[in-house]
Each structure stands twice: as C-alpha cells, then as structure tokens.
C-alpha cells in the first residue's frame, strides 16, 4: 500500500468511526412528545393494518406438546401486589372477588371465580413472548373471553376491551397508577384469548396474576394483564391512564403488540 493511500484509508477510517458514534445524536427520539418519534411510531399502524388484513380470525398461535413445558412460567412485572384490596382477596382465597364486566354491554354482570369455572373452558400450551426478547412455554386454562362478551351482550359500537388491574405500578400526585391494558374486539374474540384461572395444571399462582389474567396469544406479554379487577367494553381509550391504551403504552410502547 502506498503511503498516500494508507493515509487516505486512515482518514476515512477516522471519519467512519466518528459517524458510528452518532448514537447520541438521536437521543431526542427518546422524548415521548418528539414529532419525529410520533412519525416513526406511525409504522405501528401499518403493522397493525397488515396483520389484521393477513390474519384469519381462526389462525392460531402455535400450541405445544406437554413435553415443551420445561420450567416454571417466568413471572414478570408485578409479582406480589401489596394493594390492600388485593391482599384482602388473597387471604380469603378470592371468595368475595368478583369481576364486573360492564360498559357498552346489554347485560352487565359480575363473575365469581366459580361462575367463570362453570363456563366452557379452554386449555392451551403456548409460548409467552416478552417484549424484552425472551420466551417461556406454559399451559393455561380459562374461559374464552368471547363467551363472556357474548353473555353480557357486547354492543356493536364497542371497539375495545379494557382490562383494569389491582396492581399499583407507581405513585403519581393524584394517587396510585394501576396496571391496565386494552385490545381490539378482534383480539378479544380470538379463539385463544382466554381469561385464565389455571396454569400448568394448578390454580393460577400469585406471581402469574391470581386470581385471573388474560391470555392474548397473538401479541406480546405486556398485553396480557394480570390481577384482573374489572373489564370494560368501550369505544374509546381516552378515559384510561394517559389515554394510550395501557400502562406501558402510556410510557412509549406500541399499542399493537403483535410484533
């Protein structure tokens, strides 16, 4: 190599190194109100539209054989809520716990665990995919959410199902910020979307959301709210939290978590 081309190469290399260090130049994107970020986040609408267009409503998440359950289900997020109303239910074995399902429905109803257990059950061995990147396979038993929605008579103008939870994630000046989540009615009525009260052959453990959590198998883990307190059928997400449709969505995560 000639001296000239070597110097040229080194200069180019230095410029390249500097350009690789541009990481910090894009930190404004971390600002949740940044308009460029909002534009980039628009790709989630495209993903949502594409998946809704391509997926048949009876397309199922893969179900695995029992031999695929090789470890306890890894709990994530809240694992032992300290909220007094939750602890009262926990010590009494969820005897008086009721799940009110209301909003845009013809026959609002509150379900006890026994009510839900008396309805047709679905058991599925599925893979839980966390937004962080890990996966864990477990067996889930519960009542299909669509049976519950049919029983209360969800109205045609309903667009979303909101899951309100017991667990406090943080405190704000106006009080506790509780976990919540929401999905569209397509996901809510999917055959594998169940309100699960059983896991790996036993009752749902506290760490995994006792007494009841939702399984939404075509989306990521953060959609599958635990410690359910109430279900609302609604046509708007605005009154909930910061209005983005979920605790993590309010903090910058995508509402549609099918990817």
């Amino acid at each position: 190599m000639t001296d000239l081309s070597r110097r040229h190469f080194l200069r180019r290399g230095a410029a390249l190194g500097a350009s690789l260090g541009l990481g910090g130049c894009f930190d404004e994107l971390a600002d949740r109100d940044n308009p460029v970020r909002a534009t980039l986040a628009g790709a989630n609408d495209l993903t949502y539209a594409a998946q809704r267009a391509l997926l048949d409503h009876d397309a199922l998440a893969r179900e695995y054989p029992a031999s695929a359950i090789r470890q306890p289900m890894r709990p994530n997020g809240s694992t032992s809520p300290r909220d007094p109303d939750y602890l009262n239910h926990l010590v009494s074995g969820f005897e008086t716990w009721r799940l009110p399902v209301s909003g845009l429905v013809d026959r609002p109803e509150s379900f006890s665990l026994a009510d839900l257990a008396s309805m047709p059950a679905r058991t599925q061995i599925t893979r839980h995919d966390c937004v962080e990147g890990w996966s864990c396979i477990a067996q889930w038993t519960g009542v299909p959410l669509r049976l519950v929605l049919d029983r209360v008579g969800a109205r045609p103008e309903a667009r979303f199902v909101v899951f309100r939870c017991f667990d406090t994630m943080e405190w704000s000046p106006t009080g506790p910020v509780k976990y919540y989540e929401s999905v569209d009615l397509w996901a809510a009525r999917h055959p594998q979307t169940i309100l699960a009260y059983g896991m790996n052959g036993g009752p749902l453990p506290v760490a995994n959301g006792a007494p009841l959590r939702v399984r939404i198998e075509l989306q990521l883990g953060y959609k599958m709210a635990k410690y359910l307190q109430a279900i609302d059928v609604t046509d708007t997400l605005e009154p909930y939290g910061l209005g983005e449709g979920g605790y993590w969505e309010d903090r910058g995560y995508e509402w549609y978590a099918g990817i």
Binding site: S5, H8, G23, A30, L55, A68, Q71, Q219
Partner: protein, 291 residues
C-alpha cells in the same frame, strides 16, 4: 408504452457512453441506474438505524438462546453479556458457547460519564444512547418497513431494467475465473472494470438474495402475530429463540460485509466509487466490451 418504459429504465444505452477523454484516464461509463443508487442509499440509512436500534432492543435481554424458548431452569444460551462484581469492582463478562471473556469497557460494564456502569453496550452503539427499549422498538420497526419496501422497489426495478440479469448474474466463464479473482484480490490488486467482477457479483447476490431476506424472515419469526399467519417460519428456523439468535448472527454478517465494502471502496478508488453511486458515472480503466 411498456417497451418505452423499460427502455428508459435501461441506463447503458450506447449514446450515454461518451468517448474516451484525451488525457488517457479511462472513459466514463454510466454504471449505476437511478434505482440502484436510490435503493443503495435507502439501505445505507435504514441499516444504520436498524443496527443501532437493534442493539438497543438486544440490551433488554442480552442473551441468545437455541430453541423455542429461553432457558431459565435449563441452559440453552449460546451468548450472554452481563455484569459481575469481583473484589468490589464491576466486571463486564461475555459468555460465548461457555467460554468466558472479560469485556469491561466494551460489553457488560461500560463507561457512563466517567463511572463504570452495568450496561450491555456503550451509548455510542445504540439509539437512543441510554437504555430505552420502547424507543429502540419504535425506530427499529419503522426502518424494518423501510428496508422491506426498499427490497421490493429494488427487486421490481432491477428485474425491469435487467440490472440483475445483466450486472449480477454470473456467466459460466466468470464462475471459472473465481479462484483467479480470489488470488488477485488477496494481493490487493484491483482493476477498474466497467462491470462488476465475479467476486463482487457473488457478494451482492448473497447480500440481496440471502442475508437481507433472511434478516426480514428471522425478524418476522419473532412476531407472535406473524407466527399465527405463517407457522412454517417457526419450523424453518427451529423456534422463535433460534430465529432471534440467527437475526443477531445475520447482523454480524452484514457488519462484516460493511467493513469489507468500505475497504473495497477505499482501495478501488473512493472518489470514483462514490461518484458512481451518487451520479451513476464510473471511470473504467479498460475498454467497454461491445456486446
């Protein structure tokens, strides 16, 4: 109309080749069509953001596994980047196939404002520089669409203007020349031919028809929605976690390509190469074959 459209897409019509300049520097050849140039720079931008936001996403779970799930009660990890405390000091540790490397300063424990901090990658390697999975995903999934759209545009244009058949496909003769090309490249001797040489063709074919499509497919295999639409992808790659591992390895392959690509640009004449990728015009040493 259709014939006319494909004619205008074909850049190397005889009248676009000017005569040799008198100074004997070789003649200018119109080498890169506007489609090749546009898609090239779209990829450059998209892959830059995909790399740095992808590393951000990886920081949320800096482990790679083989199989359907992540082993918490069993060990199926092939790579783990972590921080450990040794004698009261933070030590960055990278575990690859059971081999343990101390990587303090680069991986696992990095400098954060002069203080060693437990973090997978230094700030300059990720977008944003701090830990922020949500923003990493927003950036990554946007540019994933850009990458996919660019691949589609390139494929349609390159079929229409015969870029693939004319410039990338290898003739039998070129395949025979490969060993000779390898030795001449190893001696860092490069000729400025108007056309891609066989090794260049092989590399571009591998990137465009193997690495980038596999990158898209392994990425899609991580989507629970896509899994329900195309469960065969899970079988093709041996499970979601293997797909995630392959996605990472393909990133390393692209990075290796990028390094060699830059090296070749510099050694083959950076001004000439850059001009051809910006304006389309390339100065060749040799005569243009009349075919």
């Amino acid at each position: 109309m259709r014939n006319k459209a494909s004619l205008t897409l074909d850049p190397r019509t005889p009248e676009r080749i000017p005569p040799s300049p008198p100074d004997g520097r070789g003649r200018l050849v119109y080498r890169q069509s506007v489609w090749t140039r546009l898609t090239h720079w779209a990829w450059a931008v998209a892959l830059f953001f995909l790399l740095l936001s992808g590393l951000q996403i990886f920081m949320a779970r800096p482990d790679l596994y083989i199989g359907r799930q992540s082993g918490f009660d069993f060990d199926n990890a092939i790579l783990s980047i972590s921080a450990e405390v040794e004698d009261g000091a933070l030590v960055g540790v990278t575990d690859v196939f059971g081999w343990r490397f101390e990587t303090t300063g680069y991986l696992g424990v990095v400098d954060e404002g002069g203080v060693p901090a437990p973090k997978t990658f230094p700030g300059w390697m990720t977008i944003p520089s701090g830990r922020d999975l949500a923003t990493g995903r927003v950036v990554h999934l946007f540019f994933a669409w850009v990458l996919l759209a660019t691949l589609a545009v390139w494929l349609v244009a390159s079929l229409a203007n015969r870029h693939i058949r004319r410039d990338l496909a290898l003739s039998r003769d070129e395949l025979r020349r490969i060993p000779r090309e390898v030795t001449s490249h190893a001696r860092l001797s490069f000729r400025r031919e108007p056309r891609y040489n066989p090794l260049q063709k092989l590399t571009y074919l591998a990137i465009l028809f193997l690495v980038l499509p596999l990158m898209v497919l392994t990425g899609l295999t991580m989507s629970p929605g896509v899994n329900a639409w195309a469960p065969w992808m899970l079988d093709l790659f041996g499970g979601r976690q293997t797909a995630r591992t392959l996605h990472f390895l393909l990133m390393l392959a692209l990075l290796a390509f990028f390094v060699v690509h830059m090296f070749m640009v510099v050694f083959a004449g950076s001004v000439n190469e850059m001009r051809s990728m910006i304006t389309g015009w390339f100065r060749a040493d040799t005569e243009i074959p009349h075919d």
